[in-house]
Symmetry: C2
Subunit: 416 residues, 2 copies
């Protein structure tokens, strides 16, 4: 393969969605950003919209702004529904954080199957998902059945199927694994879950905006996801939740807040939730975050998931090829090698991954470290160029081959 | 009493915290804003901080911003603790919405008293509080004991005490009533609750930033509150929660999210929460909202609750005096007349309150309507002047005495 920088430039010139990079605020062209799967970049329309929402809407309209803001969570949800997830308007809404939404929807699903006693997940699921499910299982006296997963290969549908029986109420998994980027087979797993009468709840944090999400094709029941990764809505922006239309009136989430109430401002005695997706809202929604999701999701919808996924597969394959060519004997791929089985990030294993991460940051390459000993490279397709991949991997090559990373702190510090 | 505008101007000239108005973005001096208890105004430092957080921190620092943001919820919580609520650092943290926090802390309190079967609240409590408690009682098979309250006079401690027995696990009330502004006697009620071994959970939404909150003096156990009212943190900004230090390690909230986890980025198997206030966090916190709370709470702390409360009492008394002098036969006070029994808003009853509200808005006076037939006038002491009260009440007088409000729509529209 052609290892020249010129080859990367040629690929960029041919990229049908390459121009989307100009829609983002990129103050330092030297910085190679490989962490858009953790925190996406700032879109220019979002910057302008937020400034306007702060100065003119909040500052000038004051409480009257709520005439506009009251359904913002639903409007942003509709853009995600139609433009990102391929489901219908009214099936997605912004609300709370992914963790809180996971709690709400898992609780609702468990309440809908009172005779069943098992929640199924896997040991490679994102920590907060595992903790939330652990808490629910403990509070309700249920079994949390944790399926062993190869952390580099991802969820094996056969192992999930083997864990299913008619005592399972809920199967809750991540669509794209946070560490390896492995893509779970949503269709096979949902089919198997439905065969035993269980509901499925999917965490789409690492897939919304990067890969096709077969909610409709699989018949998946429920999903949650964050918006600050590929949807570029900014740090701590509100999460979204999906409830399949026919389930909405049947399921009731446990936190009976006034934003789910019918004729909310009547302030009546007694909780009487609407039958639509708004029943899964709780408290007063964040307006700035809501606007950021609206703008970010619009750009993703405009580029289109098929184009984004194509580019994402090309970027991750190119990353792996450069890694093999330059560092094949020193760096082990810790992601599926088949692009059809990956999301939009790839991960490498190296015993000194922590040190290498610090060295990369000093060289203006921003990847992410993940335990154990993994270097995660996110390739957000809206603004990552092939030359970014070339530059980042070239700097990685120099750091690893020279051994200069050994100058950096060897052990990850503990937070708190 | 002196009903002239000049008198109001004299009062403003003598106001020791009058200069704080210059710290806010006020684009239209003709607008009389009587709804700072619903959505506070935009502080200039907040506007600047948010623009910088969007453009430079998110846009430029990207994921590296989390080095700064990771403890923002605690830093803002500390300002609220020390500068607003008079409790210690480490007893308050930002997290989620008030509704979600109420659910978390009420659940934790109920889990701590497994042998008790009653939750006590009152029928004038804010709707979302009543709904959340109703949901918890339903899910756990508990009794929700709802004490009748005069909606204009507020919670009667004797009636609450009469509802208490040793089967009560939790007493959950609002400190300042959302409709009448009546101030509940936190010391008397908490003392009565503790006498029967119950925990107390206070909703501080309408009191934080406007009145002294005797959490420490009363020995109150738990509290939640929003930040977009008197703390001026903007629409949908994150809420705060208070857990008395000695209870923190004993209580466990039900949504086991990764922001409560010890050494969160180890991403270990098994939920193992920290023992400090951070254990009541759940998911990734909103950064823009966190900064807005930090800046808003700083201004409140700088002015100081004693000065704010003094001015608030003067403003609300003046509002009532003008109302009585100009409209005494047409408008009935629907708030306690003793300023020591009020928060920072006053409410009037009028059979056509909805129409009057619309007419006021058309005349550039922004009050709030509350069912049934109530006109609510918020008097945020950081930026409301005596001349604002004079102007607003004068326009109200003209609208009511002329009957011009009859041109406006008679019936409140239904939202949803």
């Amino acid at each position: 393969m052609d290892l020249s920088r010129q080859y990367a430039e040629t690929r960029d010139a041919q990229d049908p969605i390459g121009h989307f990079r100009t829609r983002f605020h990129i103050p330092d062209e030297r910085l190679v950003y490989f962490d858009g799967n953790s925190l996406g970049r700032l879109p220019l329309t979002t910057r302008d919209r937020l400034h306007d929402a702060i100065d003119r809407e909040w500052g000038g309209e004051l409480i009257r702004g709520w005439d506009t803001w009251i359904d913002l969570a639903g409007r942003a949800g509709d853009v995600i529904a139609e433009g990102v997830l391929g489901v219908a308007r009214g099936e997605v809404i912004l609300s709370d954080s992914s963790s809180v939404n996971l709690f709400k929807l898992a609780s609702a699903a468990l309440d809908a199957s009172p005779g069943r006693h098992v929640i199924v997940t896997d040991d490679d699921n994102f920590p907060t998902d595992r903790y939330v499910l652990e808490g629910l299982a403990r509070a309700r006296g249920l079994e949390l059945r944790i399926v062993a997963t190869d952390i580099d290969a991802g969820v094996d549908p056969a192992r999930i199927a083997a864990a299913l029986d008619d005592d399972v109420a809920l199967v809750c998994l991540s669509h794209v694994a946070y560490r390896s980027g492995a893509l779970a087979d949503m269709v096979a797993i949902t089919t198997a879950a439905h065969r035993v009468g269980a509901l499925t709840l999917w965490d789409l944090c690492h897939s919304a905006g990067s890969v096709p999400v077969p909610l409709r094709e699989s018949g998946a029941d429920l999903a949650v996801g964050c918006t600050y990764k590929y949807l570029n809505a900014g740090p701590g922006a509100p999460a979204f939740l999906y409830v399949r239309r026919d389930l909405q009136a049947r399921l009731r989430q446990p936190i009976w807040g006034w934003f789910g109430q019918r004729d909310q401002f009547a302030m009546d005695a007694g909780y009487d939730p609407v039958e639509s997706i708004e029943r899964f809202q709780v408290g007063t929604p964040p307006v700035l975050g809501g606007y950021a999701v609206l703008e970010g999701a619009r750009i993703t919808a405009e580029a289109g998931i098929p184009c984004l996924y194509d580019k994402s597969a090309e970027l991750s394959s190119y990353t792996i090829q450069l890694g093999e060519a330059w560092l094949g004997d020193r760096l082990a791929l810790a992601s599926p090698s088949d692009p059809g089985q990956r999301g939009s990030h790839v991960t490498f294993h190296h015993p000194q991954a922590w040190q290498i991460c610090q060295a990369l940051k000093a060289a203006k390459v921003i990847p992410d470290f993940r335990t154990p000993e993994r270097l995660r490279i996110g390739l957000a397709p809206l603004y990552t160029r092939f030359v970014d991949v070339w530059e980042g991997m070239a700097r990685l090559r120099d750091i690893v081959t020279s051994g200069s990373y050994r100058e950096f702190e060897a052990v990850r510090g503990r937070v708190t």
